[in-house]
Symmetry: C2
Subunit: 417 residues, 2 copies
């Protein structure tokens, strides 16, 4: 059998157990707060002529350099310098979305059993990337100001006592996925101090930093780094288009060289067509103006969503109030299992969300829900929240056996299908 040929890391691969539930979302009557996708309404609106002009360069058709198009790296460097990240093209690697940045960093740094400190809860894609290289993931407490430095310190000490090797600290510092919280400037400083003291590299994954509703977030952790202790990941997926798969990784030049060699074995180079799109769009249009527009757009949706939380959610359900990004994080009473509730919610109430459990590296988190309001528009958003409120109300009223009964009923339905 082929199974016996698999690598140890393959044994580590986990299929998402909520994937089956999401297949039910294909029903168009389901309102989904599940996928953290940007809204198509936030994409640049281009005429056919404009689109064709953007892609007219023959560069779009051919293989490109592994590090990415030089001109695009220069533009990104200019943008980063404005953000107080001193850099140039040699510090930048274009990646196929920032997910590839996570994969390459894991490839370069992780031996099986090495420790990656992650937010608890953390972005699932980050957990997967590190998990696939057999990292040991250690959750660090977060609160509404982001990762708690005292918790990080105590985890580092614990890990060292166990003789494990701490390698990376993975942080989504702004409008975090899944909670929406933002790391304060003070904590950014404390955390990089810890990284320097213990020689650990921070992976600062910042896809949402530009999507603030009112005031910009604190400066990037990378601005506090004078050498190699921060690898910064940026992405055009949320601020321009995900379909082009253009992300970028900023690091010490020597690290970039090594990551480029790793990338060469991984996909040779990122798609030129996507890179040329990003490059020519940035040259022809104003990113700042576009960002101003989409900040207004998402802010309005956030307000609708928070008002709907206020109106429809049962009073013993808590929720975060993000200052930017796509996500609201619900805390249900401890005995409610959001994972078990999901198929019922989709099947009966026609509303979907992501249960919180998958964002934790330990066995916690079944009483949490991540809502992504980014993709759901106006009235539908309100209607979806009304449905969700009702589902949660019923769940909280019933005793716990409600879930068990309903789940087994659903299983029978699935089997019958």
């Amino acid at each position: 059998m082929w199974h016996e040929l698999r690598s140890n890391r393959a044994m580590n691969l986990r299929a998402s157990d909520i994937r089956e539930a999401f297949k039910l979302c294909e029903d168009p009557s389901v309102i989904s707060f599940a996928g953290g996708f940007p809204s198509p309404a936030s994409f640049p609106q281009l005429s056919n002529t404009e689109l064709a002009n953007l892609l007219a360069s023959p560069t779009a058709l051919q293989y490109g350099p592994t590090e990415g198009l030089s001109e695009l790296r220069d533009l990104i460097a200019t943008y980063l310098v404005q953000k107080d990240i001193p850099t140039n093209r040699n510090n930048i690697l274009i990646t196929s979305g920032s997910q590839q940045g996570l994969d390459l960093v894991a490839k370069l740094f992780i031996n099986p059993g090495d420790v990656v400190f992650v937010e608890s809860p953390a972005y699932v894609g980050g957990l997967n990337a590190f998990h696939n290289y057999e990292a040991k993931l250690v959750g660090v407490e977060i609160d509404r100001h982001g990762m708690v430095p005292e918790s990080l310190l105590s985890k580092i000490e614990k890990v060292q006592k166990l003789g494990l090797i701490p390698k990376l600290i993975y942080i989504v510092p702004c409008y975090q996925n899944p909670t929406g919280v933002t790391l304060t400037l003070e904590r950014r400083q404390e955390i990089i101090n810890l990284a320097k003291k213990y020689n650990i590299i921070i992976i600062e994954d910042n896809p949402y930093g530009e999507l603030y509703y009112n005031n910009p977030p604190p400066k990037a952790i990378k601005t506090l780094d004078s050498d190699y202790h921060v690898i910064y990941l940026g992405s055009f997926s949320k601020i321009l288009l995900p379909g082009i798969r253009v992300g970028f990784l900023v690091a010490h030049q020597e690290i970039i060289s090594q990551l480029a060699i790793a990338k060469q074995g991984t996909d040779l180079c990122s798609g030129s067509i996507g890179q040329v799109f990003a490059l020519e769009w940035l040259k022809k249009f104003s990113l700042e103006k576009h960002l101003t527009d989409i900040r207004v757009y998402y802010k309005k949706k956030k307000e609708i969503c928070l008002a709907a939380c206020e109106e429809f959610l049962p009073p013993n359900v808590e929720y975060t109030k993000p200052e930017g990004g796509f996500f609201i994080w619900l805390t249900l009473p401890k005995d409610v299992d959001a994972r078990k509730l999901l198929p019922i919610s989709i099947k009966e109430a026609k509303v979907a969300y992501v249960p919180g459990g998958g964002f934790f590296v330990d066995q916690r988190g079944e009483n949490y829900i991540r809502l992504a309001f980014s993709q759901v528009e106006g009235d539908t958003l309100v209607e979806g929240m009304r449905r969700l409120g009702k589902v949660l109300e019923q769940a909280l009223e019933s005793d716990s056996s409600f879930f068990l009964q309903s789940t087994s009923k659903l299983n029978q339905l699935s089997l019958a299908k």
Copy 2:
């Protein structure tokens, strides 16, 4: 220092020592036979309107499914069924070029020290992909009919005796990179028999199979597989456009599921813009007609190149006569070091090639040269071959100290720059 944080596999990463030499190719007066890129003249010629129409679907802008767009997978399945590979969309994973297929397969199957049998010489990108996961690469002899089954058998037995675990056999069966040779049907059958007998998986990497000059190559090894012993890699990079980065991987459905989970942690999904381009182009235009055109185009170039080999190369330089693809493989007299000759060739004769050493996993191969004629047009091709002939002539006339002297001279030049 950050170096001490690197993984064991990172210690395995090798920068190409000919990369520096290739920087010299940026000089526009250099004629390069180095990069195995398809010619822009072989790309579909599209008007602005056609291009914009191809990309008009909103699907091009958003994230897509990890497995790839269903409609594209269906079209690829139809194409493969015509090639006697019975398949459907569930056997297909869209990859970011077939290089990503190699990376994902290595991720799924390779533990450090596991054995991958490779052609000797083999495609460098394949070697890198496996090497990056700390595979032990074992070279298998090839001749003008491709991999030699007897050599494979003896290597398998040797590996087993050593207690190593054979996992994969990596083959580019048609118009191989770098030699241009094609595996015969008889050998395809013998090799899959060995794979079944010893429970090893064949990676059949076939980017050039459609680029035959006269007669189609033998049927894919995958057509001889009834279960899971062949993973087939295809690509649109050479037959349509590399800039879209669309490849595909064909395997047992269970393997596809596992690879899709691995891909999710690697880049979430391949670029939608590239996939939509491929999909809509395939729907709107005839791939068969396009292939007919580019076969004629490359055949003509091959003829020019072989005629120039005949005319300009010294008589003691041997060369392959491919039946398709992009490559001719030169065998120089044993004492000539093509790697040492390269900087001189570029700097003084203004002609570039890839020295053969990098394609071998052992210390052989310094007296080989790979020529890619795919990208060089008409008169330039002839002129490039004339220059190369002269370089080789001089090298063969001089004694070996010529190289040493010239190289150190060049090093001084580089240091002075």
